[in-house]
Assembly symmetry: C2
């Protein structure tokens, strides 16, 4: 499937010429192709790959890849500011949104601060050296698999010291939403010692009237930072580019902790081209919807409970031990999720292309015939 | 010149085909070409650009740029470990060596620590949020423009708290060496509270018997970290890739503060290809030596004192005000250095291609006829 998609861009022949590697087949042989390699359904990537416009932009940028990024960095900041209707000073580029999350954690660290998150949620905020200076409070998701905003509020209200609140919405690994009206009312009432880090990595995938961006807060509330990424809907996970949106004062503070000149020249160019590619988001959404339908049908057929998702992945029951399930999938050349305790009777399945999900469901049905799920 | 160099790779036509942009001229028009744009002699970049092998590797990697880097990251770590004869666990990849320096600063921060550096030296270690928790001690270079190791030692010895020592060798912006025997004897005697950050960004350019790498220390001394980069001799500044080399325990500590998954997939591939390109270092050195001779001849002819350099840049007198000099150069489409106080009667000039330096010297001679230098 990947090979076909790649060939459809009409670039393979030209690239083979450009690389001097000779014929197209020899180029294809040196490139991992999903249809020939394992099915990679473990990391919430976008199987469509870089958009054709982004691929062209990368190639065009090669003669500039020996120069420290400057002009394209400014261009991307301006484009993002225009896209979101905020000041340029509100945009902080990161090496993935991961760097934005990391830096928020670092920039808020004090001896007595707390980090309040859902459980389970995306782990990156725990993954840095500084969290050992935090008191970490993990609040279980509520019955609807949303952030338990009431409990998180109560916990945060106990502290006069800085409290960093991480809200991943939609939440990874559950794919579920937290009502933005609940988040809004907390932000509205919260004192300044409570700092909100709203992770909207999967923003574009959401189709729900109760969901909107927290960007609307950043002008009035310097204690709100929103993280976005080019890794998901834009298919650029390998390019490592994300950004934070915050009040200019907050952005300036965060920026002082960022890696200087963090974004790669080719990533900047790919991002600019992706933003200008008006069809990209629609294509990604369409492929994702079709992939989701293939998976939902199979899970329903096999009576495997799943959490309806607002993202490019789904959490579903596996009727057994996650470790064994993952190993067996790997033996069938399918890479799936990772453990998200305490949900160890579920697997987080990323959506590949619809055709890839057909292949996945064949394997899952085979597992059922063997009594493995 | 850049256009010629680019065309010489034989890739322009193929790339134009690959991008679907049509004929070569239209592609060339969209790409900044030094010969048509300003002469960029301000950022110590390598004007040769990415090696042809690295360019091919970038193009080959595009179909993988939607995946989080994994295999290539491990491959590059293994290649660097083999190159330097150290354990894989000793290698820490960074978003440029800048990230390694930044993280060392962050990972060593305590309420009472000191940061001891030369003056002037490379500024990146001062550029993060955490240095405000440091007591910064800048020790002027000695009469030979080397780090004044004796004074730095004396200062560091006053503290029982952590002392982070930054030694940029050869030093940026002076291009001068500090005798490695002096650095060695300090490292040999230093207590564990003194942590050495040895920046060897320009290592490959040095031609001096008194110079060697500090990598030899990392096994026995967990308080030594060496930083290297792909930005200079490898011509990859825009790709943002560098690395630290340290004792496995130190590397593990540093890694906890790094941005997770920091290196871009295409950068990893370009780095691997560059390491495998046996001729790359020689080509870069050759171009640099020829460029240096062009500049030295002109500076001597104009009787403008310069510091003989062991790098891809040179610090030279300008007989006047640096700000005015830089502005006038910019009016002549030449970008040169930035202020490095207290050396404000000098300019830091980066070496471009030899032909580019011919163009620069024409401008400099014109300045002399006008009485500007």
């Amino acid at each position: 499937m990947r090979r076909r998609a790649f060939l459809q861009t009409g670039m393979a022949a030209g690239i083979a010429g450009a690389t001097g590697l000779g014929s197209t087949p020899s180029h294809i042989r040196t490139t991992p192709i999903t249809a020939e390699g394992p099915l990679r359904l473990s990391s919430n990537e976008n199987a469509l790959g870089l958009s054709p416009a982004a691929r062209r932009a990368v190639i065009d940028g090669i003669p500039e890849a020996n120069r420290y990024p400057g002009a394209k960095r400014r261009e991307l900041v301006a484009a993002l500011a225009a896209k979101h209707g905020v000041a340029r000073e509100s945009i902080v580029l990161g090496c993935g949104s991961t760097e934005v999350l990391q830096v928020m954690v670092q920039a808020s660290a004090t001896r007595r601060c707390a980090l309040v998150t859902a459980n389970p949620t995306f782990e990156d905020v725990f993954d840095y050296g500084i969290p050992e200076t935090y008191r970490v409070e993990r609040v279980p998701l509520d019955a609807n698999m949303a952030h338990d905003i009431d409990r998180m509020r109560d916990l945060a209200a106990l502290s006069w010291d800085p409290v960093l609140v991480y809200i991943c919405n939609p939440n990874n690994p559950t794919g579920t939403l937290t009502a933005c009206s609940d988040v809004d009312s907390w932000i509205e009432d919260a004192p300044a010692n409570i700092r909100f880090m709203i992770d909207e990595a999967y923003f574009e995938y959401v189709d729900d009237d109760g969901y909107w961006s927290a960007i609307k807060w950043i002008e009035q509330r310097p204690n709100v930072v929103v993280a976005r990424t080019f890794s998901k809907i834009y298919g650029m996970a390998g390019m490592r580019l994300g950004y934070g949106i915050a009040h200019p004062d907050t952005a300036a503070h965060i920026r002082r902790f960022m890696c200087q000149v963090n974004a790669n020249e080719l990533a900047l160019r790919a991002a600019l081209a992706s933003l200008e590619d008006g069809g990209l988001v629609g294509r990604s959404l369409d492929a994702n919807t079709r992939a989701k339908q293939v998976v939902y049908s199979c899970l329903e057929e096999l009576d495997l409970e799943y959490l309806p998702t607002q993202t490019n992945f789904v959490m579903h029951r596996i009727n057994g031990d996650l470790r064994t399930y993952r190993e067996r999938m790997r033996e069938h050349d399918v890479w799936v999720g990772r453990p998200f305790p305490p949900m160890l009777s579920y697997n987080r399945l990323s959506f590949g292309l619809p055709e890839e999900m057909e292949r996945f469901t064949e394997v899952l049905r085979e597992f059922r015939t063997k009594g493995w799920v």
